[in-house]
Symmetry: C2
Subunit: 358 residues, 2 copies
């Protein structure tokens, strides 16, 4: 089967034939139908996050069950599924308290990758998924069955980008009706935070970015105000619109400067939620006075604090009801052979979501 | 009347006769019965917080209504009251949403102090109170009537120290039953956080300090575990006791190092609450990764997020019912003439609360 392999940081991926082990107990082989290109993939390929190489990237996917390992229940060959990076054991304190996204279960248990190149070299699988490949093998807990009538290029985005943005608003911040919200960064994740805020009845919803094209998209997703931070003092602008500071600020760009700005955009008892991953070496430098007198809150949301198995089916329903926008997130579709073009376009900031279709 | 005046940073207070203006419209003159010495007073006297001099300190008080300004309702001469630094207008968005402690109303409206020394020099009134004095004049919103049968030296602590620690747990963090709590610093404020956690049914309640004497007091107030950070790795100790990190950490000492340690003591989705005021020039240096993957939260609590007028009467009831400990907070009582001794003892870390009694 074909896969896109990163052999060296900063170099184009190599699309080549590789070998995939059959699923072991509790595992499932999935025929990948669509995988979105996420900034986290690119962080790995550029060396911004530490990771062993060579590696097969890709973690925002949908596909069809192809083969089932021993002891797997609830799936049969041909079932359409979303494939997520979240493994959950179902038994730990996080899984038992509605926080399965924090489960610390490890996969693969034997610490051996299921992917190998034709020379016999092991290929790491990014985020327990490695879905820039025609097939992958994952733990059964990473899969959520979906209806057959949702297109796979839309469904794949539910695995990461959609839940990360939408869930930060809905699950982590639990934004109440009529709250003021700021979303810094209106790429694939940010737009889902915007629509999460819109569906929650937040008002105003202020989108902040430096690209007019992305801001225009934010309007489509429900933003009431657009602020281009390259042309205006975004902090002052937000303070003006909200009358002193926002109730919620979501930082969907991976930048510590944006986090500091976000805190200043938030008002009394305002909450700033870090959604995008800054470089691992970056540090935040803040005055503790930001927190005490005005009782601001800083927190983070990991994978939108999503509970995959209950939420993804609901998100599919929202999409089918015309409430959740997915079509509008897709900028372009590429075959696996052209994955380097898809990545380049994301890096240039041209794309909301580029999808690899198989 | 007599008052203790700070004329110069770092120098002893001067106890002298001063003049007090009569109350204007909306204001009340109070005969002070007891004022606690709080670390915030000392911050001012030592120059750690910017403030104009000369100044009359003191802001944690109780006394009796002495004279009523025009338009004041609900009080009559002789009523026992707690005197707080919190002014509230009753009309702004904070007052109307149960957050009167965040009211931005200013007092005195005319920006003129009510205190002057015998040479005619204006004396600032610390935190709109200036209650290291036999009498003071404050806005009527700063007063809460209390029953006559609670001793004034206990009641005065309800104005600041008690609500700041207790309220951080009850109002700001809203600690649920069976949560694990850490309280860093077990002075006057920290002990009230400990008893807030105990009354909330938190477990374990881990008190962290470097003074064995204060830790012993924490046990009396409900701590289940005592950690002396000068003799052990407090972060590891907390992680061991809680099985990976605490649900809530309250930082009642004014130190950015303690805030960083607190964050590391908190576990997945744990909340760290800054209660004590660090130096205004100190800055926090943290990795954003502390917030994202484990979804930790950092926030602050100002004056225990207290709603004075509804909460202080309830705290009095809890005290009278034997649930809220106040007697145990008092280390010593001093007359106004000996205020410098009372302050010195607090600075040496010898005292929980020292009270000036009139």
């Amino acid at each position: 089967m074909k896969a896109a392999v990163c052999y060296e940081v900063g170099k184009p991926l190599v699309v080549e034939e590789i070998n995939l082990d059959p699923p072991k107990a509790g595992e499932v082989k999935v025929k990948i139908a669509a995988t979105a290109v996420c900034h986290s993939d690119i962080h790995i390929f550029r060396g911004d996050l530490p990771q062993e190489l060579p590696i097969v990237g890709g973690h925002e996917s949908a596909g069809y069950i192809d083969e089932i390992g021993k002891g797997v229940t609830g799936f049969k060959k041909g079932d359409p599924v979303v494939v997520s990076l979240l493994v959950s054991c179902g038994k730990c304190k996080y899984c038992r308290t509605g926080r399965s996204h924090q489960c610390t279960a490890v996969w693969p248990m034997d610490n051996e990758t299921r992917m190998h190149n034709k020379k016999g070299q092991d290929l790491a699988m990014l985020f327990k998924t490695g879905s820039f490949a025609e097939y992958t093998v994952v733990d059964q807990s990473q899969l959520v069955k979906i209806p057959a009538d949702i297109p796979m290029d839309r469904a794949c985005m539910l695995a990461c980008g959609v839940v990360t943005g939408f869930g930060a608003v809905i699950n982590r911040a639990k934004v109440p009706l009529m709250s003021s919200c700021v979303i810094i960064g209106t790429g694939g994740v940010g737009l889902n935070a915007v629509q999460g805020a819109a569906i929650s009845g937040a008002n105003p919803i202020i989108a902040v970015d430096i690209a007019d094209k992305k801001l225009k998209a934010a309007k489509t997703f429900g933003a009431t105000h657009l602020v281009n931070a390259s042309r205006t003092d975004a902090i002052k602008e937000v303070q003006n619109i909200t009358g002193g500071g926002a109730d919620y600020v979501f930082i969907t760009v991976g930048s510590t400067a944006a986090i500091s700005q976000g805190l200043e955009m938030s008002g009394v008892q305002g909450m700033t939620v870090i959604v995008g991953l800054p470089k691992i070496t970056d540090s935040l430098d803040m005055s503790p006075l930001m927190f005490i007198k005005d009782e601001r809150t800083l927190t983070g949301s990991y994978m939108g604090s999503t509970q995959l198995h209950t939420e993804i089916p609901k998100l599919v329903d929202l999409y089918k009801a015309g409430i959740l926008k997915l079509d509008e997130l897709i900028t372009a579709r590429y075959p696996l052979d052209k994955i380097n073009e898809a990545i380049e376009s994301v890096e240039k900031g041209e794309a909301l979501r580029n999808i690899i279709v198989f």
